[in-house]
Structures are given as structure tokens and as C-alpha cells.
Point group: C2
Chain length 347, copies 2
């Protein structure tokens, strides 16, 4: 399509779980799209996806796909990003990359706009979108950091299968359908598609997301540490994560313990969180109000509840964060970066 004033936009990985949400989010946010090019591997080319009342045909990505494109949203995995980001940047396109390929490179800004949108000023054509579990964490941590300081963070996650892509969603669905029929299907995708061993996720939880590192942490757990430090400009902040996959389609949950630099009362903490953009405090034990994945799916905010003081550590607080991993954790954050970029460049 090419029919309005605005930017020439491409989405790479348009048929994936995140890619489809990127297309929907561009439309829902009324991002100024002059033309939209949907790109994917040759395998997915030809798929039709709806955008603004039209059916757009997905094209196989090639060396000329980014010619004349102003802005490309990438969500096709790390190797696709490594292959095509240089091509796109050389063609003069700004790339917002949802893979982990470039996130920790010093000259690539890693952005959650509400937290460190100002870091966008320094990009060289490539801007990174954080890991889904990191995005919602830093949105809850930044207001606490600003008001009380952060001493340390310990987080255990409850991550939805969609964080591992459409094949993982399909796998959970097939396993549940088989379970209802009293049958079973061999797992082939989770915990990690290209790992040697697979385990069922239906009626199960798996304490592995991504591959293991030498010290026993997983790459996902290290990403939460490294990316949180980078986004918060807190390179020495102690962030320790345990990342766990649960049989949920959409919505990552996180059980978080934070030691603040200064003790704070829960009402002050609640106020600090409430005042922060896109953070919603959903926290009323008397009314059994707290966030949970089915409540947050399809919403762009980050929901915080179960706020309470630790009973032993004066500066310690516990809380529970839920957000839609395909939106705030991926597509919505990418579009929010695009909006911040557009504002900065042409606002």
C-alpha cells in the first residue's frame, strides 16, 4: 500500500506472533504510514495480512527490500536481524530490532521510551527493542529508582509461550487438545526450539528459557540482568532472575523482590508507580484485585499489584508485574520507539 503522507515502513517477520502484532499496532496507533511493506522468509511469502482495510501480501525479503524504506520493524529472530539489519541500514533505513542480536552493543540504544527514550538521540540507524520480560520489569523499576533508588532486584518469571513464537503457541494448543482427548503429542518446540531435548508445556512449567550459560544461569536470565542495567543506566545494579515458562498463551508475570536504597512506605511506592506513564497499579487485596495474564492480554499497559513490604528487610518490597509480552514486551514497545523517533526527527 502507498496512499498517505507519512513514513515508508517495512515489517520483517510479519507473519510471526510479534510481527502480526506489529502490523496491528501500527494501525491501532494510527502511526503515519505512507506505505507498508510486509517481509518474511520465502516460506511465508504470499501470506495475506490485513492493514487499514486492505489485504497486504507478504514478500520474501531480499537485497532490495529496504530501498526507499524509512523505518523497518524487525522481528524475525537474531540470525535474520544479523543478515538484514546491515542491508537495511545501508539503504538508509532506521531499523527497530526486536531480536537480541544487537541489544548489548554500546552504540545501539536499547529503548523503552518511557524510561530512556532520550537514549534514542545517539543511534546509528539501529535501535534495539528489549526482551519481553525486561520491558515490563524496567517500567516498574524506573519510578522506584527515581524516587527511592534501587539496591538489588530478584525476579522469578511466569512467561507465556507466545514469547517463544507462533510455533510454541501452536505446540501448547496441540498438547491441550490431545490432553482433552486423552492422548499426548511429542513436544518439539519448548523449552528451546533448537535445543536437543524438548518437554511438554501443557499442565507443566519449565524452568528453562533459552540456552544455559557456564554458571548455570540461562541466556534469558542474563538478558534480564544486562538489559535492565543498560536501560536503567545502572551497570552495577544487582539483578538476579529465574525465568520459567508456564502454560499461558499471552501475558508474562513476574514475582519481584526489590531492595530500595531508602526505606519507603507502600502508599508512597504506589504513588510513584501510578505517576509513571503506561504503568497501572492494580492492587486491592480486600477486593482480590491484582493483575493476571488473562486480564492483561491485548492491553498495552504494565500492571503492578501485590505490593507489600518485606517483613524482615526494612528496604525490601515485593510485587507482581503482568504485561502482554507481545505488546509492551515487543510490538507496542517497537511502535512506541518508532513514535519517539518520529517525534524527535520530525516532531
Amino acid at each position: 500500500m502507498e496512499n498517505r503522507a507519512g513514513y515508508h515502513v517495512a515489517v520483517l517477520g510479519a507473519t510471526g506472533a510479534v510481527g502480526r502484532e506489529m502490523v496491528r499496532t501500527l494501525e491501532r496507533h494510527a502511526f503515519p504510514v505512507a506505505s507498508l511493506r510486509l517481509l518474511a522468509s520465502p516460506r511465508s511469502a504470499g501470506t495475506l495480512l490485513p492493514f487499514s482495510g486492505e489485504q497486504l501480501r507478504v514478500e520474501a525479503v531480499n537485497e532490495h527490500s529496504f530501498d526507499g524504506v524509512d523505518l523497518a520493524l524487525f522481528s524475525a529472530g537474531g540470525s535474520a536481524s544479523r543478515q538484514w539489519a546491515p542491508v537495511a541500514v545501508n539503504a538508509g533505513c532506521v531499523v527497530i530490532d526486536n531480536s537480541s542480536a544487537f541489544r548489548m552493543e554500546p552504540d545501539v540504544p536499547l529503548i523503552v521510551p518511557e524510561v530512556n527514550g532520550a537514549d534514542l538521540g545517539h543511534h546509528h540507524g539501529l535501535i534495539a527493542n528489549p526482551n519481553c520480560s525486561t520491558a515490563q520489569l524496567v517500567l516498574a523499576l524506573e519510578p522506584l529508582k527515581q524516587r527511592f533508588g534501587l539496591h538489588r532486584v530478584i525476579v522469578s518469571t511466569y512467561q507465556a509461550v507466545s514469547g517463544s513464537g507462533q510455533r510454541a503457541i501452536d505446540e501448547l494448543e496441540h498438547q491441550l487438545q490431545a490432553w482433552v482427548r486423552g492422548e499426548s503429542v511429542a513436544p518439539a518446540v519448548l523449552p528451546v526450539a533448537d535445543a536437543a531435548v524438548h518437554y511438554p508445556i501443557a499442565l507443566n512449567v519449565l524452568p528453562q528459557i533459552d540456552h544455559f550459560l557456564a554458571d548455570g544461569f540461562t541466556k534469558e536470565e542474563e538478558k534480564m540482568q544486562n538489559e535492565t542495567q543498560k536501560i536503567l543506566h545502572a551497570p552495577r545494579l544487582a539483578v538476579s532472575a529465574t525465568c520459567v515458562r508456564v502454560p499461558v498463551v499471552r501475558g508474562h508475570s513476574e514475582s519481584v523482590y526489590v531492595e530500595l536504597e531508602e526505606p519507603a512506605e507502600i502508599p508512597e511506592i504506589r504513588d510513584a508507580l501510578r505517576a509513571f506513564p503506561t504503568v497501572v497499579v492494580e492492587d486491592d487485596p480486600d477486593e482480590q484485585r491484582y493483575p493476571y495474564p488473562l486480564m492483561c492480554a491485548g492491553r498495552e499497559e504494565t500492571f503492578v499489584g501485590r505490593l507489600r513490604r518485606d517483613r524482615y528487610e526494612e528496604r525490601g518490597i515485593h510485587f507482581w508485574i503482568v504485561s502482554d509480552n507481545l505488546l509492551r514486551g515487543a510490538a507496542s514497545n517497537a511502535v512506541a520507539i518508532a513514535e519517539t523517533w518520529a517525534e524527535a526527527v520530525h516532531g
Copy 2:
């Protein structure tokens, strides 16, 4: 039935999720049962349950149910325990109670036999079985306490619906069946059967188990704190829990952070855990070996994996515990208490 040398045993709440496992565990362990009386509310009376090749009829509990009974295993909820435990004890019966009714009473021993079986010496007819999420936690903590000392514990749980009883299992199954048909059914049991508000558990996680306390913790979270302190004889140990229900039928998982009194290397920690009875170390990242609920269902051991040092706190370690909440967390622990009691009294 009444046909062998041994103890006259009763099970109260025999038709519940835990009660059925108690009957099976008595048989599997070849506990010396001279007679077995199955008791329940009038609603469940008449149900037939298999035991040692016979079909036993469940009787409605009454004032004479415990006459001539040596040992009663109770798992019928707190109010049934409060009503019937005094009756049973007055009849000269020793009661092993799986409810939370008496656990924290100073003259009631709260027992995980491998950890504090010696506390059994002081009972007055009533012995308490801990909360399911506590039993597996203390089994992993005790060997660490003995070798390295415990400074603090922070735990986030992933608890199976069977911890909330047969109705919660049925609710998850009905929700999943409806989901596969593209339908939905109104939740009525979880998170807490007698609470005002219910939420779906299928394809969801719920950060509430039991009712809320004034400071924002739930009773389940407080139980994990109080019961752990009591069983470990560590009344001031900092234990902070976040308890979460996940759509798993059987098998509680726990993400645990512990600060030891002294720094320790992972191989030493692994050795200490391996040497402890009924604890199994299932921990080999290179082979993707770690415990998960579907692996542990139907087994009586407590499985520990994902052992690793914290990257910031020298004395800090992280690990992951899984155990069958109906067995080690309830029925097997109750029978293990019975075995320890029988050994002490008549061994």
C-alpha cells in the same frame, strides 16, 4: 477390613484428593494396617475405595468413628479437624492432621520426619502435617542449614491446582475442555473457594492462594514463613514467600533464593543436598536436566535443580524445587509421620 496384625487406622476425608492418596500410600508403603476405616462427610459416605485388594465403603464420620482406632490421618479441612480431632484424641487415637488448624500451636509438633522427626517425642495425641509448599522447601533448606547456616530465604511458588483439592482439579479440567471447544465456563473455585471473586486458572496464573492478611501477604505465604521457622527450629529466620497458582494438576515448583551464613561452592551444596534423605538432585544444565511437575507427579522424593551462585551476593544461591504436592506435600508425609511414630512407639 480387619484381618492383619498392626494398627487400627482411620482416614478422615478419604474421598478428597489427598485422602485418596493417603489410602494408596498406606498400601504402597505396606504400613502395618490391622483395620482401615474410611471416613468422610455424610455427602461422600457410601463411596467405595480400593485398599489391598478390597473395596472399602466410606462411612459418615460420627462421635464413635474413632473408638478402637489407634491412628487417624485427617485431611478434611480445618473446620472438620477442629471438630473431630478432639473426639479422636479423647478416644485414645493419635491424629496426624493435614489441615492448618493446629500447626502453629506450641504443643502440637509439626513434622517433616527427615527434618525434625525427633520433635514427635512431645506430642499430646495431635501431630500436624505441614502445608504442601512448606514440606518440600524445608527438605531442601535443612541440609543447607546444617552445613552452611541460613541467613534468609525468598521464594516464589508455582503451585498445582490439586493443592486446592479435587474441586479445583475438576475446575481446571472443565475450563480446558471448554477452551478446546471454543467455549468458556464461569470460575467458581479458584483462587479460594469461599472468597467473593473467582478467576479462571486455565491458560492463566493467579497470584493468590488463600485469603489476604492485613499487610498484603496471603495466609499461604505466611504459612510458608511460620511453618518453615517452626520445622527448622529457626524462629527468626527471614522467610519471604510469593505464592502463585499455575494451571498444573500435580506438582508444586518453587524458585528459591537463599542467603547462606557462609559462602559455599555449588559442588558442596549439591553434595549436601544429595546426602539428605528423600532429596534428589536433578541438575545438569548441559543435558537440560532439571525437575518439572510432569516429571515429579506420582513420586515421593523432593527434586532440586537449577542450582547456581548469585552473581552479586557471595553467600547467595538460587535453585528450583519440585515435588508432588499430594504425596510429599501431604499424603506421603502423613504416612511417613505415621511410620516414624510407629517406630518410636513400638519399634
